[in-house]
Subunit: 443 residues, 2 copies
């Protein structure tokens, strides 16, 4: 049996700064636009819902941004996270490829999301904010923010998509356990919510609606800000600790990745592992950066690159991104964290200019890979993260076809402890593939 | 806000041997008895269901037993585990006590159970066994053994108490995900199961019945052995990696514990953290060793010290232990892993002779402590482990009363990701305390 091979850093080796790729971009990014004026957004436009510390990061041209000591101090609860070589998976695949994975499921919330939740809670606390409002789908982001706000003594209000609120009680209960308050969305607490409920009292809700509610909550309460778990530049920035650590760990392994892989929903965990390697690519490295998205919600591979809203109601700024249209409602795949119509503008921009690759995977093939991973490496992966596993397995099989070594690094963004019903469906043969059904833009 | 303080060991600092306290005992232990002859058990009596490697460990007089390289190799997946100082909890309690906890929830199965599951799978594999049979209550042990057998290429059959099989589907699904087969017990696969079903087709099952089924399965199939997740000497032995690592980590912290705490069901996680410190106690150290059990199932504090069976049907050897009677059916507390009528003979013996202390805690006070821990330290604990937290908090409050420092070390044996419905009941004010209802021995 192949040996377990784990690369561990000391606390002293934790990154002291986040990597900001904005000043290194080879092509200029299109700015976000104000939804009323259609003019480029200014910092003041964002001030009602974000603290200045985060607004500055959203637009910063500093190549490195120091991680505040108070943030590092909380990240130390679970960081540095381990990096493994998946030798037992390699053996099962009979591949000459070397497969490495960075494991972010060791955080108390079970995913990479607390990396940015802690930073966002910190900057809001520092700005004198008392409460954060946010939305959540399956609950990964909501639970991460509930944890982070609790540790900084802030309050937390989470609008959870109603259908998930009732179908996925356990992440909701984590939010309660950490002292967060949580409402099924659409709720009667906001004008946006009430408007939906008036039209359709039985609305199952959507991430778009929940975003509208959280933004409205923040905009209408001076002591409250809004917090977003993906998509924005500052969120991608906070996740670069993943790739920065991984680079040190790959150095311990004495290898350079040929391809770096992350699953892709809004883009933050992919950005976290990939952006530090992007700088190598800018400097001539041939490393490939591969985003793995679901076939059912293929913003990167089948979306159009255009300005679009971040929410369904069209209240947020317009972002230039790959989008399936802000009215697109993704099918109910189990990877709830990848059910978003858009893609981080930064990642969209990089894909547009050929710095990234993207591939879409069907649900069944993703779970095939998840099961093979669980049975060889021992960790039961989240359905979201299993998209990265599928992509890594395919790369390893391609290496076998070629008969050549390939060094593969992927981010295992979280565990599947709250997704066992998805495994139940898969093991019972009840899981289906969902194709992409474009939204009728005329409708 | 107090700083996160985590003590991490390198892989090279992992224990290379288990600590066996049997040769150091100050008073002789009473031997297990054969249920038919009532004579002391011989190694040959155990050979039909255990491999010789484990039988030797059960009775070994070697003070240290080397951990095989193949076992260390799998343990490395999650070991060494971190030790934390709970500074935020200390602050919340306003106590001069220093509280340390060893966190075993980082294993893929989420508890300390894989420490012995891996060793047991290894020795069985080496003995040419093809399959292991076991019982499980809430599923912690069954999932740990399913993981370990899968990694060694063995098959695994789990008899799961029927009421838990239906009420707690998620740990069952982990067992399936790792390729184990699992049957609700009583089942029609064994004579013991069929006998129960004949009398009561709707029997909810019990751990005692499930043990009978697993033992019978092993005894009637030459290629199959039985595996037990607690109680026995070799299981306690395998868990000593916990305490051995903790001692090195406490040395890094520059402190010696005044009291070492573990929750107590069958006794293995308590033994794991406490036995390495017992040797210090034998050498004159004043360190206290405190077992925390549920009031609803108080074998240590209210049981009698006597020979009793390990299962309800009375098929197993007779063990000299603190027992509530093998017909005792514990109330349905959420800490399913602590619902056992007996206690490890080794721990019972040590308690009898004053080397250990034991305290019983009511369910509500345990969940009060669990919530306070989750909200200060961030990790959501298993209900079992929360008994140790309660005991540690009480020690810290006593130190505050005294106005003196006290160094407290406890084992956080697992996370509560599969126990969120227990938190739901607690948060909804629906959780009740259960008193101890002695079994009618005449009945």
């Amino acid at each position: 049996m192949p040996e377990t091979t784990k690369y561990v850093l000391t606390e002293a080796e934790m990154p002291a700064h986040w990597v900001n790729v904005l000043p290194s971009l080879k092509e200029p990014m299109d700015p976000p636009l104000h939804p009323a004026t259609m003019k480029p957004l200014t910092p003041d436009d964002l001030a009602p819902i974000f603290p200045m510390g985060l607004i500055e990061q959203e637009m910063s041209m500093q190549p490195e941004i120091d991680i505040p000591g108070e943030v590092i101090d909380i990240l130390k609860l679970w960081r540095p996270t381990p990096l493994y070589r998946a030798r037992r998976l390699e053996q099962a695949l009979d591949t000459p490829a070397h497969i490495y994975y960075k494991y972010e499921g060791v955080s108390p919330a079970g995913s990479h999301k607390p990396n940015t939740a802690v930073a966002q809670a910190y900057y809001n606390k520092k700005a004198g904010i008392r409460r954060l409002a946010t939305e959540t789908g399956a609950g990964q982001w909501g639970s991460a923010l509930a944890l982070a706000t609790r540790l900084f003594g802030l309050e937390c209000t989470v609008y959870m998509v109603k259908v998930s609120y009732h179908q996925k009680p356990y992440r909701r209960l984590m939010i309660n356990t950490w002292g967060g308050e949580i409402y099924p969305s659409p709720s009667d607490r906001t004008q946006s919510g009430r408007a939906i409920l008036e039209q359709d009292p039985d609305s199952p809700g959507s991430l778009g609606i929940a975003i509208s509610e959280a933004v409205e909550d923040a905009a209408t309460h001076p002591d409250t800000n809004y917090s977003l778990g993906s998509v924005l530049n500052h969120v991608c920035l906070h996740q670069t600790v993943i790739g920065l650590e991984a680079k040190k760990q790959m150095a311990l392994a004495g290898e350079e990745p040929d391809v770096v892989i992350g699953c892709f929903g809004g883009g933050s965990n992919f950005a976290g592992i990939a952006l530090p390697y992007l700088l190598d690519r800018f400097n001539g490295s041939p490393v490939r950066l591969l985003a793995a998205e679901p076939e059912a919600c293929p913003s990167l591979t089948r979306g159009r690159f255009d300005y679009d809203y971040g929410d369904t109601a069209g209240l947020t700024p317009l972002l230039k991104m790959y989008t399936l249209g802000h009215k697109f409602v993704p099918p109910r795949i189990h990877a709830g964290g990848l059910r978003y119509h858009g893609a981080a503008p930064l990642c969209s921009h990089l894909l547009r200019h050929g710095w990234l690759e993207a591939k879409a995977f069907p649900q069944l093939a993703v779970f095939d890979a998840a099961l093979q991973f669980a049975q060889t490496e021992g960790i039961i992966p989240a359905p979201e993260s299993a998209h990265a596993i599928r992509a890594a397995v395919d790369e390893a099989l391609a290496a076998r076809e070629e008969g050549r070594k390939r060094v593969i690094l992927f981010n295992l963004s979280g565990h599947g402890h709250f997704d066992m019903s998805a495994y139940e469906n898969y093991l019972a043969g009840k899981l289906e593939n969902f194709g992409y059904q474009p939204v009728d833009e005329e409708g």
